[in-house]
Symmetry: C2
Subunit: 453 residues, 2 copies
């Protein structure tokens, strides 16, 4: 058994069962075991039981359980999932607005990321980064680290120590990056990747929290031999997730096409190197042809939708066809894309996904209907879990999953969230939180049953 206490929560619970099915429960009961696994989820429970009588856990006594009775104005939601996040860009959020994507990389991002060659700097900034995202209720993050092996291992160590569920990948970039910041060679790029994978497997052998992820920055910065090498690792390790930037911006797509004229599109390119499948997390996907959409369905790829950066950084205003992804059953979650995205909040990503979808509705002349709040919240939780291939573990409160959750209080001392009124239904309270709440309303954060905020 684990080192934690078993937990019991009684009160309002809100979670997604599907993109359109949001369960809003006034009075639910959730119990976890000492490993943070959900062992009971009763949707209607009028009180905390005096005695536990769980056939699966006959030895668990009510006196051994840490009991949380939610007050009026409090409710539980699943932990928020950030499917696309550049940890070393944490100190540059909001900087360089208005620059085109490749110019922004050269002028702002590469000089900043290069600083992570210094392990002390990495330790200091990554500690703040993880704290900052846990504070925002982000229980799972898919992180791109910098290109540096040591800094990447530090990021993984810190995620484990601080208790954040994370995918951590050393960024592969052996070309089209400045001399002062790139992998020395394809061989070095792959060797450092292998070291990072081995390190993460060593510190968390059962992937309880931290997993490695293959992270070619994008094809522009990867020699074909590097992509082939990563593809070989992917073939060898069938559970290893893969993340990259995909059909993000016209400028990026044109540069990719010039480097890889033999491929009709990025789907063909990455598929050729064995990097597309059910464990692939493709960030952005703003421009998707009918062919690429079909291939995504066949391949089972997941999409990290990053509305904030899509509409700011990157030379213009891009809106991914999220309605189309949902319609076809393509997995889709939300990414803050911090620091291309200016916000470190998945709640902000939800709001901006709403705005992007409204734009999309207008631009598609009504074909791609704007997203509903249920769909936005699904992407922020269960959808994100699916994209990260973690839906068996997290994303909602199904029995058997691990308890990653945020306790929301809609009445805190210092808040900007819309005031709750006596006649508000729980649905309205949830809507007010989703549209106007912030980290101050996220009073407790749990990952695998451990309180991390």
């Amino acid at each position: 058994m684990g080192q934690q206490k078993a937990l019991l929560f009684h009160g309002a619970v809100i979670h997604s069962v599907s993109p359109t099915d949001l369960e809003i429960l006034e009075s639910a009961l959730i119990i976890t075991d000492t490993d943070g696994q959900i062992i009971l989820f009763e949707k209607n429970a009028d009180h905390v039981p005096d005695v536990l009588n769980l056939p699966t856990h006959p030895d668990l006594k009510i006196d051994d359980v840490e009991i949380h009775r939610l007050s009026e104005g409090e409710f539980l939601i699943p932990g928020l999932i950030d499917t696309h996040n550049h940890a070393p860009q944490y100190p540059q959020r909001g900087q360089g607005q208005g620059l085109h994507i490749l110019d922004w990389l050269s002028a702002v991002t590469f000089p900043k990321e290069a600083k992570f060659a210094d392990p002390e700097y990495a330790r200091r900034v990554y500690a703040r980064c993880i704290d900052g995202f846990l504070k925002q209720g982000i229980t799972t993050a898919a992180y791109y680290a910098s290109a540096h092996g040591e800094a990447t291992r530090i990021l993984a160590d810190l995620c484990l120590a601080k208790g954040q569920r994370a995918l951590v990948g050393k960024c592969n970039m052996d070309r089209n990056a400045p001399d002062y910041y790139r992998d020395a060679s394809v061989e070095e790029s792959l060797a450092v990747t292998e070291e990072c994978i081995a390190h993460i497997r060593r510190i968390d052998p059962h992937s309880t929290l931290v997993q490695p992820v293959l992270t070619p920055r994008f094809a522009i910065t990867c020699d074909p031999a590097a992509l082939a090498g990563l593809g070989a690792i992917a073939a060898r390790e069938p559970d290893l997730p893969i993340q990259t930037h995909f059909n993000e911006a016209r400028q990026e797509m044109a540069a990719t096409k010039e480097l890889f004229p033999q491929f009709a599109c990025e789907t063909d390119l990455y598929a050729h190197f064995g990097l597309l499948g059910p464990r692939s997390i493709l960030a952005h996907c703003c421009y998707m042809s009918e062919y690429e959409l079909q291939r995504f369905v066949e391949l089972g790829c997941g999409i990290a939708h990053c509305p904030v950066s899509n509409m700011t950084i990157g030379g213009g205003f891009m809106t991914a066809p999220v309605r189309e992804f949902l319609r076809r059953g393509i997995k889709v979650g939300l990414g803050t894309d911090s620091g291309g995205g200016f916000s470190s909040s998945v709640l902000d990503a939800m709001r901006q996904a709403l705005i992007a979808s409204n734009a999309r509705e207008v631009m598609s002349e009504g074909k791609d209907k704007g997203l509903a709040i249920e769909e936005l919240f699904y992407m922020a939780t269960l959808g994100g879990a699916r994209v990260c291939s973690l839906e068996g573990k997290v994303g909602n409160f199904a029995v058997g999953k691990e308890f990653d959750a945020c306790l929301i209080s809609t009445v805190v001392e210092d808040q900007i969230m819309t005031m709750v009124e006596a006649d508000d239904t729980l649905k309205v309270v949830f809507e007010k939180f989703a549209m106007t709440g912030d980290d101050r309303n996220i009073t407790h954060v749990f990952v695998r049953g451990r309180r991390v905020k």
Copy 2:
């Protein structure tokens, strides 16, 4: 002389001189008199003087002055100006996303606003509303109150008591609104308006802080006789500002056209009733023909740009042609449009104005270039002051203006703002604040030299 202490600030100051000219001063000196008027503004001052020697204020001694030495990481900006805000919608921010504008009014807004018939409710909610906006650094707000006379007077009383600069208008709505919430007749609508004007003139005879504003909700809810009556008041009172909703959404414009078939456009309609001129604050202006743009230039009208509500509430995704307004010299400021807009922050309005302008750039095929951070900040401060006809009093730190300001700290205990690094220039620190800071970074707020946060 006033009842306050004279103030002295020494340190970093950032303010707008024009839409494109942002002054970023590392070490400035600002002194106010005891009435909160700026009597000295030195752009480069290496220290706080030991002796004051002001020809205009020979009696002011340094010992009588409250001295604020700004620390590293602190800077002053002008108070933020919210040119469009529905005070009674404060408790509904974020509610009813996805509803079309007229449906949203019926389903959410009118029932909520009707509650302000109860003066106790009005007192309680308006107190929280004003506190909430002051907390966000909003030193001036152009408020639509509800239709109720007493609640409107309460809002004005509270703005004065709490020290917020405000335009306060009783909302005129004698038709096309539910029986339970509308003016009983045109006569009553106008009589209550006159009472509110008289009340505000009585409590603040020199308009030091609070001014009345004519507030026909929009032509849909106003009988022609009501508009004519308001036009007559405007003609009688040449300093009285006027605010209404203007060319907001297709659904609204079509309904207006049906009610007023004799007018080719809303410009002709409101101009006919004597409601368009240099003191008019027109909210939204999403759809503007060449003719209407030209008329706005001739008439000197100002525009309250409300990007958050334009892109969420109201049935779709609307982007006002702000680049075009700036190009033609039409006055334009930012409005939160709380509660149609889900945010109570002008910083959020800046960020969403950036996003709306990026969309506009794409939709106009590059003609309407996206807005720069200088232009966004101008709209949030000096531009807003011009829209409210207050540029002689506030908007930046020119000598002779009143001291409405926010003291920004970029290093506070609990913040989500991007961390500042040792090598960041003041421009970068400002950019990080503008894109990622929030009310927690606004540590002090002053209106007319009085500290209100």
